[in-house]
Symmetry: C2
Subunit: 212 residues, 2 copies
DNA sequence: CCGCGATGTATCGGACCGATACATCGCACG
DNA sequence: CGTGCGATGTATCGGTCCGATACATCGCGG
């Protein structure tokens, strides 16, 4: 999962580790707390070994201009390679079982702007299926095993069940939107009124604005 | 976390691994999918080595009665020890930072019936604080970095934000309930109308119904 | 009589986390 | 003037947990 996220972010622009973590946190803040360096750096190493990314020295050569003023020590900048882009495309297009768990789905969803519509639909429906199963499981427990459990455990299940139902509804909306329309547009929610813009899903295979 | 959950379940009755996993799944189904045996068995080994639990042979001795009819092969039954109960009490009473993340909170909450009220309150408030922080982080991103992100990422954040707000409200209710009342009673929710029973929090130190 | 699904125990590699260590930079506060 | 502290930055280690896999038994239906 981390691999996918890193590849996706580096596709937008080269970054060093610290920056990458911040961007990762911003992009995935809704689904996981914050990537640990204990995961990040080894993964970067792994991706580099596989040839998906490369190190790019900062202020690379010809650097007599400002030698020590902003020398900045290490600062290893990572950049995605052509193979890395292929890898990303491959990862984003295929959906295994891990695509539908909480984290996996979140990461995939976060890169939906780079995913073709058919895959988006497939993933959304797979996720819905999975949540529906969880929901049924919770209903079963609440219906069948209620008297075996204490009030707190019951309340936990009830809350979880509600969350499932809510997510299914959310997914339904997204699926409907996807089928017959465009980007997600969920109005009248009241909360955090940010701007909402249409995105045009990039015709598969292209990347827009490589270097501004 | 697994340690706490296992100790808590074995406190109710001895079990073998498979059964333990099923009970674990039933009790924690709202927060995590299903415990993997790759976690369960090593943890059981660890707990046993520490002396918190012991193996108890099934159909222990004097077993000439039905030798091979239901021989059932392995079936290692685990049983909590006195030290294990102490350990559980200690784990359940103290709250570190890991007590407030999704999984940690869920597990603690699932055993609230065995937790004294002061601790319950402390944990609920700690959890609320943590969720509020996450919520603020999401609001920041939505307010400040909205134009940098695509519509799908934005929608993900929005959905996450809503979930945070919902959970805070849930926690508020629980806290209010806890302060001036008894067990969780959340009526009029419409969903899954199970029975709702009052529990009397066991006066700390006792266990009711050891063997029915 | 045979297969298949539930029950049951167990291991291995890998992903990810939390704690920790360490170094540099700029700025606020004494 | 210094000094200490918070942000930036790279890196490792031990430990927890997951997913895949293997294997054995049992009861039941076809």
């Amino acid at each position: 999962m981390l691999e996918l996220a890193i590849l996706g972010l580096l596709q937008e622009s080269p970054m060093h580790g610290y920056e990458l973590r911040k961007e990762l946190t911003a992009k995935l803040g809704a689904i996981r707390a914050a990537i640990s360096y204990g995961s990040l750096y080894p993964t970067l190493r792994r991706l580099q070994a596989a040839g998906w990314i490369t190190e790019a020295a900062e202020t690379p050569a010809t650097a007599e201009e400002v030698p020590a003023l902003t020398s900045r020590r290490g600062r290893v900048v990572y950049k995605i390679t052509a193979e890395g882009k292929e890898r990303f495309a491959q990862l984003i297009a295929q959906a295994g079982p891990e695509t539908y768990d909480d984290t996996g789905f979140g990461v995939h969803f976060a890169f939906f702007a780079r995913t073709d519509q058919a895959t988006r639909l497939r993933i959304l429906e797979g996720r819905r299926r999975k949540i529906e199963e969880r929901r049924e499981g919770l209903r079963d427990v609440l219906a069948r095993a209620a008297e075996r459990l204490d009030a707190y455990t019951l309340e936990l299940q009830r809350h979880g069940l509600e969350a499932c139902e809510r997510e299914v509804r959310w997914l339904e909306e997204l699926i409907a939107n996807e089928r017959s329309g465009r980007a997600p547009t969920v109005p009248q929610t009241g909360t955090a009124g940010g701007r909402r813009e249409e995105i045009s899903p990039p015709p598969p295979g292209e990347s827009r604005k490589e270097r501004p």
